[in-house]
Every structure is written in C-alpha cells, then in structure tokens.
Symmetry: C2
Subunit: 583 residues, 2 copies
C-alpha cells in the first residue's frame, strides 16, 4: 500500500535544505521564507512537530514579516478568487466551504465585510475554512470584526497555522504510528490539571480536545462535527446512496490523572488510517464514521457511556437533571458548551443502517506485554459481579486465646482471598479480586473480631463467572461454618458479559495474520468495560486490543503505547477496512 | 477448715428476726434498733449487701435517731474509756489505735479536742480508728473540728458505717467466693467514666479504690497502708522475728472500659483468705504481704508495671518527669495524691527476706472455660515478639490483569496470616496473631498494590517462639519472592518468656488436687503479661489462673468470674498458704 503520493516526513528530514524548502513552500501562502528558515531545525519526529517548528518561525519573525504573511492571503470570495488568481490550495479551500457558490447577496455581503475588516485591521480576513460552510464563515467574519485591533494579528496567525496544518496533511505523510502518538501526546496539553491529564466531560480542556479532534478529522478528509452530546463525529462517505455505515471510535474523556492513550487511541488510529487510505487512492464501498465519545468514564456526572448511549438511543433524559460536584446539571453543562440537549434523542442511529462497530483500545493490562505480542482480538467484554463482605468473629487477647479456640475474622477473610485466587487461576479470562480488605480498629495484640473486604469476579462468559461465584459463595459459607464466624455478603453489582461479534473477531484475526505474517492470533477477554458494551446492543461490535507498555498500567500518567504497536494496529485496521464487504 | 467461730451469713438469712437482731445488735454501738429494722430486708447475698442495708436504715432514720446513734459512741480516750465502761468492740478498737497508751500530754490534748468538738457539733467525735495511730487520730480530730456543722453529722455517720463494716467482718462469715465477688463488684463504682469501669493510676477513682482496699485489708486483719508509689500493702505478720515474707498480689488499676476482675481478683482473694484463716485460728510461720499494685496497665503514663517495679527496685526515676495526656508529670501526680516520690527507692524489697510471690489472676482467655476447669497452674508468662509488616506489590485493574500476572499485596498478606495460623496451631502455648490488616485506600476494582499488617508471636518458652518466628520469617521471604512483592518487616517488640517457679507450680498443683479431689491439674501458659513478670526478677514467682466466663473475654465490661470459681480458688490458696513451709 505504498501508493500514497505525498512526500514522506523522513525524506524531508534527509533532503537538502533547498529541496525541503521547495517541497513546503506552499504551506504558508506566498511565503516560502517560512519553510526556508525551518529547514535548520530538522529532523522532525512528526508532522505536528514540523508544524510547530514552522509556526515558531512565524512567531519569531518581525511584525512587518507577520503582516506581510497575513497580507499574502487572498480575501474570501474576493477579487482574486473571481479573477481565478488564487493558489491551487486556496482555490480548493474556498470551494470546500462553498464560497465558490455564493448567492449574489452573500457575495455582496462578503465584499462589504472584506472591506470593513481591511479598513479596521489593515490586513485581509484570514480563516481556515475547512469544516465551514458559507453561513458559518459569515458568522466568524462578523465576530472577528468586533475584536480589538491589538489582538487580531495573533488571531489571524493562529488561523494561518490551522491552514498550514491542513496543507501539511495533504503534502506530507508519516507512518501512522508516529501520527497517532504525536496526536495523543499533543492532546495532553488540554487538561483540567496543570500537572496531570484530566479531561473531564464538557470542561474547557474537553472542549479544546474536541475541537482539535474535529480539525484532525477534517485534515484527514472526514466531514466532522461535534454532536449534541459532545461526541466528535467524523464521516468518510463513500458516495453511494443508501450505503451502510461502519462505526469506529472510542472516548476522549479521561479519568482524573489519567493516561494519554486510554480511549483516544480508538479515535486517533482510524483518523490516521482514513488519511492513509484516502491518499493511497482507496475508496470503501460503505461509509465510515469515526466517533470520539464525549463521556465514557463518567467522572463528572457519575454515569458512564453518556456518549455511546446517545448513539444507541439509550440515553436517559432523566440524567439531564443530574448535577456534578459543583451543582451544575448535565443540561446546564451541555448548554454552556453550546450543545442542544433537545437534539440528543435524534442522535440515535438506525441499526439497519449500520455494518457494525470496531473499537481499538489499549489493553489496560499486561497480557500482550507479557506474551510479547502487539495485538489481540477481544473475545468478550467481561461481565462483573461485586460483593461487599462483612465478617464477624470473636475479638480476643492475642496472647491468651489459643489457636484452636479462635474465631478470627481476618483469618476467614484471608481464606476467602486465597480461595478466590485459587479458584480463578487457570480458567481463561476469569479474574477474582479482593481489592478492599480491612480490620476496623485493628490492634497488634487483639485477635480481629471484624473484617471487611470486597470481592470482584469477572469472566468473558456469564456461565464461567456464575460457576465461579457459586463455588466461591459455597466456600465462603464453609469457611464461616468451619471457623465459627458470621459472614454477610451484599451483592453490589452484577453486569452481564458482552461477547464480541464473530464476524468482526474473524475479520480482525485474518487481518492480523496478513499484516504480521503470524498464524497464531491472540484472543483475549477485556476485563474493563468499553463503549463497545452499549454499542453491542445496537450493532455487531468488536474490539482490537493494542499492547500497553509499562507493565500494562492504565488510568495513570505512566500509561504508555509504542509507535510500532500503534503502527501495526493501524495497518491491521486499514486491512480490515479495505477487505470489509458491505452487503 | 470449718473452725471459723463467726456466724455464717446464710444462717443469719435463715434465722428468726429476733435471733438476727440479737446477733447483730453490737454492730452499731448501743443501737440494736438498726439490726431490728434491717431484718425484714433479708436475704443478703453478701456481707457488703448486709452492711448497705443496715446503713440504709441509719440514713432513713430521723435526725434525732441519727444524733442518738452518734451520741451512743464513747469519746476517744474519754472518761468512759478511763473508767473501763466501753463496749468490748470499742475497747479493742481504741486499743488498736494505741489510744490506751497515750502520754499525759496526748491524753490532755484529746480531752480538749473532745470538749471542743462536742461544743461545736453537739455530739462526740466518732472515728473508725482501725489503721490509725495516735498521731493520725489527732490529725483527723483537728481536721474534723474545722468542718461545717451542717456537714459533720454525715461525716460521723460515714465513720460509723466504717466501724460497722469492721465489726461485721469480726462477727459474720460468708463463703470466700461471695466475699471476693462482692468486693470486686463494689469497686466498680469508683471509675473515671460514668458508664464504664476505668480506673486510671492516681485518679480520683483510683485513690478511692485504694482506700477501700486498705479498709478491707484492715477488716481482714492485715496491717495496711498505701506506699509511696500508690500500692496498697497489707501485712499479716506471724510475729516471729526475721520471719521471711510471702508476697501475694496483683494490680487494681484497669484499662479504659475494663473488667472488674482483671488484677483485682489477685488482691481481693488473698484478703478473703487471710480473714478466713485468721478466724479459723490458723497462724502461718511466715509473714504474708498482699500488695495491690497501683499501676500495671500503664494507661496513664505509658509505662507498665510501675507498682511492681518499685517493689523490685527496678523503678526508673527518670519516669517521674514523664507526662500524661494532660501534661501532668508522674511526680506531680504522686505529690497530688499525697505520696512522696523520694520514698519510692526505699520500697525495694530485699530478696533475702522473701519466700516468693504468688499471683492469682483470671485467665483472660477461654482455655479453662473450654475444658470445663475452674483453675490452672501457670507454667510461664509468654514472651512476645511483634512485627509491623509492609507489603508492596503492583496495583492494577481488577478486570484486566490475569491472575498469573498479578503481584497482589493483599494476597501475600493473606498467605502470611494463614501460614502463621498453621505454624502456631498444635504447638502447646504458641500463638500467632495478625491483629492489624489493611489495604490502604483499597478499591473494589483495583488489585492491592500495598498492604499493611502486624504479626505478634508468643510462647511460654523463648526457644519455641524463636523457632516459630524463624520459620515465619523464612516463609514470608519465600512468599515475597514467589509473588514478586516487596515485604518489609520491622521488629517493634521482643520480650523474653518468664517461666514460673517450679516450687510454686508444684505446691499449687498439690493444693488443687487436695481441694478438688482431681488428680489431673491443668498447666497452661499465660499469654498476657502480669506483675509476676517483673517480680520474677526479685523472687521465685508463680501464678494461679481462674476460669474467665463469657468466652474468656477480658479488658472489657463483659469480663465475668463465677462465685464458685472464686471460692475454689480461695480454698486452694488457703491450702497453699497453710502448707507452705518457711525455711
């Protein structure tokens, strides 16, 4: 699939300075000096780094040079456009926003605005029009006219950077893995906390992240927008009427102090794949929709899967009144972000229109790492059953009560823990955890009269889990009877397992075999929940797990993902997409 | 040993009212009406209850009757005494305080005081002179003369109650078990807390308890006083010059919210035994000293065994500067209680003067209860070794990390706990306890990355404990290595075991056989520390354990002791004392 005609970033890094400058001369409109001054800063590890270096040159230039750069841009639907004197890039861009199809009134209005703007600021109105239509261009124009002259140059330069990013995407390719990691790392800067990545639903960092995702989708060639629940939805249409849609995606919100790849990989990877396929001349015979779900972690409103549930039509409108820790309701938060709560029900997809759902996600565990494998096909998303357990034994003097006369609550808890460990070991996908364990008010010289613990059991199949739980409950009863302690269990959660769709599992496995050349494909269950859980109620859903570095740690700043793993995952997804047949 | 000539309390309960009144007519001086009015309140379960009923009659009487009661008492060393007109009781009592041996000046001073007192209050000065000497009588006299007339009648009536108690002890006998339990229950009223028994060293409750113990020792026939560290010391002298001394005793302080028998049994039981032996005409050929140790629990100053360490000469005078939670130093507390810190070193006993030490104590555990035995001979007081243990494993997602890749800190702790239980089971006297156990900040869905626990190991022989600890430490190391978790141990305590003296163990066992008629005598180790531990450094020490009811619970309001068990223990101690041969 090396049919992508764009120049490779590595080739730019290795090229002579003149060649580098020539290749990138058009990234900034009529301003080849920017590429020339950037050449010395090579090499660049990613296109985002290249962009940052070019924009740094812009910001380091004199004000006269900056003004010259802005003034090198044509007016929107201006005289140059009418006379056909635009650069090829500007022509495509203005046409993309429908500016070549203005009505006479719109055209007249734009001329007036162009003139007013130039009079007020001394340079033409520059806007990265990708993703805009004529109406939104007019709105932006009117808004910018109200800006302070002192601030407007910076605004224009920021728009020019966006234009440069779009143009770079059309001109320069990089390995998909590099692209994915560079985007994920770039998003770290949008955070509720200065020292950590915390991207909470509908907060300022969350909204900035959504805007960036939108831009990147557009740069990749998708029609992108933010929907009424805050999902970022990008569509790569195949152009066939009534074509079915394959959904891909994951979430872009994070836990507090989370990792950069959890969720986001599942959005950024298909973006990179679409860009790659499009430039390689591939056209799918179905529509592809990439959704960055706005809320999966449920940090702010305590309700997980808000984004994907809106897509499945399972959104509970009663949640609109739920308040966050600051007393702000979900409704108010949506309105504050410029979203329309009343439009949420219309987000529900028609199952008939869908081909399925594929979610790429880091494993959030150490299994692939441990087995030295980059990828695994998810068999099912485990259902989990949770209990809180209280044990009441008999407190006593640690020195005076002989071992055989004790009713030690902590010893009973220890037995439950070790029995859980033993029962779950060796059964594929079955896990059991005692995460909470405490002797309340314990003292060194007192035999524990009470002990509190939690029990969490998960398995890819409900039958496996149910059998394990039944065995554990029976053993807990035996432990209580044998030790003469009272054990009370409270079931606090029971969720069914979600099997992944056989078609998607099979197709993913085939793609992995083709891309990696290895016959054996690792199949594994997901211990954590994902957006695929609610979506599975809508359409056939499957997941691809990518190896998590650093011991498999996730939901933590130490979460890592390697470039090579991201790249091979992207190649597998590209293969999957190309070979998927629409009925 | 039914040679005690006193009338039995049960016989008084069963007697005709006239007989009851006749037997107790002299308990209150020249006031037979009190016994007469008390008869209807029978039966009484103890002498203390009988006394309370008689005093209730006094307090329910008219003021004229109360005044008549006070006026029925002779002046101290007054004209009646000089003329030989006192009742037999008063004659003995006044002689006991040395008032029959006054110097001419003292006699003159007493006459003046008698006259002044009668003038000020309208009734003679009444004082329970037992335990007094002439000097302290004069001090009390001068102090009472300064009282308000409105309060002095109540003071006189309280002194009359004390006189009645002493007289009742000479007139009425009760089973030793009843006496011991009645005294222990009576002491519950002296507490730092309204709803619980908390008797903290040198507090008001503690001092009231000491006074009461002093009175009971005196009533039993001992010479009693409170020493410079707050021990209540009662001596039953055999009268032989250079006779050796057998020490008996235990402590009268309690833990916060403690039990009524822990410690106190070991003071009250020998008091009851001495009273019984004396009235049975027994005379020992050695001196017997009963010591109620003021501080064993160490609640107030955090230093255990203050009382017994003063007796052994091990008192650390540096402790005088140690402060309690309110910032009061031990020195200030002693001075505030009227005690002389400088006199503490002189409390040290000469080991050459001692025969040994016998401590009677409730078991504070369930072994005797479990085996249906009232008594056991203590073989040794266990040494204890304590560790605080920190385990560091790897936290992880409870759903995503498979069992074989976990490094679960809590599972390692559970293994340590169960291995401790297994290693200690079946080895006589060896006990191991994990009393503290906690996963800090544990969550249901997180594999524990940390766990904290304590380990306490005790055995009657140091070799047994050392072997167990060595095995446990080796196993803990294996557990850490196998599970890939880091385990840090900190030894926080190591105390050697105190073996009980063979002579005392043998003699106690012989006495138990004789009293109970059973050949098998239970020998058991003490898991808790006792005053016998420091005393064992001074003289040969032994302990008798008495069955603890209620599952063996101690240091708790639910601590119980049965009358019958206290009685058989007292009979065994009486036999032990009678048969003990002084060299």
């Amino acid at each position: 699939m090396n049919t992508d005609p764009r120049i490779e970033l590595g080739a730019l890094n290795r090229a002579a300075a003149a060649e580098f400058s020539a290749q990138l001369a058009g990234i900034y409109e009529h301003s080849p000096w920017i590429a020339e001054r950037t050449a010395a800063a090579r090499p660049f590890s990613s296109r985002l780094e290249l962009l940052a270096a070019m924009q740094a040159v812009v910001l380091a230039a004199t004000t006269d040079e900056q003004l010259a750069l802005v003034r090198a841009h044509p007016e929107l639907a201006g005289k140059a456009a009418v006379r056909g004197e635009l650069t090829a890039e500007s022509t495509r861009e203005q046409a993309g926003a429908g500016l070549s199809e203005c009505s006479a009134e719109e055209f007249a209005r734009l001329q007036t605005l162009n003139s007013d703007y130039n009079t007020r600021f001394g340079f033409p109105f520059v806007l990265a029009v990708k993703g805009h239509d004529r109406a939104s261009v007019l709105r932006a124009f009117e808004q910018r006219l109200r800006n302070e002259p002192a601030d407007e140059l910076a605004t224009a330069l920021a728009q020019i950077e966006r234009i440069a990013e779009f143009r770079l995407a059309e001109r320069v390719r990089e390995p998909m893995g590099e692209s994915i990691l560079a985007m994920a790392d770039h998003l770290r800067q949008y955070s509720d906390d200065a020292d950590a990545l915390s991207c909470t639903y509908l907060g300022a960092a969350h909204r900035a992240t959504a805007q960036r995702l939108c831009d990147w989708m557009r740069a990749a060639g998708l029609q992108a927008q933010i929907d009424a629940i805050g999902n970022v939805v990008g569509r790569w249409s195949c152009g066939r009427p009534n074509a079915k849609t394959l959904l891909m995606g994951s979430h872009y919100d994070t836990v507090v102090n989370g990792g950069a790849y959890d969720g986001r990989l599942g959005i950024l990877l298909p973006i990179a794949v679409v860009e790659h396929l499009r430039h390689s001349g591939v056209r799918l015979d179905y529509d592809l929709e990439i959704i960055g779900f706005g809320d999966e972690e449920g940090v702010r409103f305590g309700s997980t899967y808000l984004g994907s549930r809106a897509i499945t039509g399972q959104f509970d409108s009663g949640l609109l009144d739920r308040q966050d820790a600051d007393g702000i309701s979900l409704r108010a938060a949506l309105l504050g972000a410029g979203l329309d709560p009343q439009a949420i029900p219309a987000l529900a997809r028609d199952p008939e229109s869908l081909l399925g759902y594929l979610e790429v996600h880091i494993e959030q565990g150490p299994q692939l790492l441990d087995e030295d494998l980059p990828l695994g096909v998810v068999t099912a998303i485990n259902g989990s059953q949770r209990f809180l357990i209280q044990i009441e034994g008999t407190a006593g003097h640690a020195g005076t009560v002989p071992m055989h006369l004790r009713h030690d609550a902590a010893a009973a808890a220890a037995e439950i823990l070790l029995h859980t460990e033993k029962r779950c070991a060796g059964v594929a996908g079955l896990v059991g955890t005692v995460g909470r364990l405490q002797v309340p008010g314990g003292a060194v010289n007192v035999i524990p009269g009470r002990c509190e613990l939690s029990l969490d059991v998960r398995a890819p199949e409900d039958a496996t889990r149910d059998a394990a739980v039944a065995d554990l409950l029976a053993e807990i009863e035996r432990i209580g009877a044998r030790r003469g302690v009272r054990i009370e269990l409270e079931e606090v959660l029971k969720g069914a397992a979600t099997p992944c769709a056989p078609m998607i599992r099979q197709a993913l496995a085939d793609s992995i075999r083709r891309v990696t050349g290895r016959d054996a494909v690792r199949q594994l269950a997901s211990g954590a929940g994902h957006d695929a859980v609610p979506i599975a109620a809508l359409t056939q859903a499957g997941m691809l797990f990518v190896r998590c570095g650093n011991g498999g740690i996730s939901h933590h700043p130490d979460e890592t993902l390697s470039v090579l793993d991201a790249d091979v995952a992207a190649l597998v997804v590209a293969d999957f997409l190309v070979r998927l047949e629409a009925p």
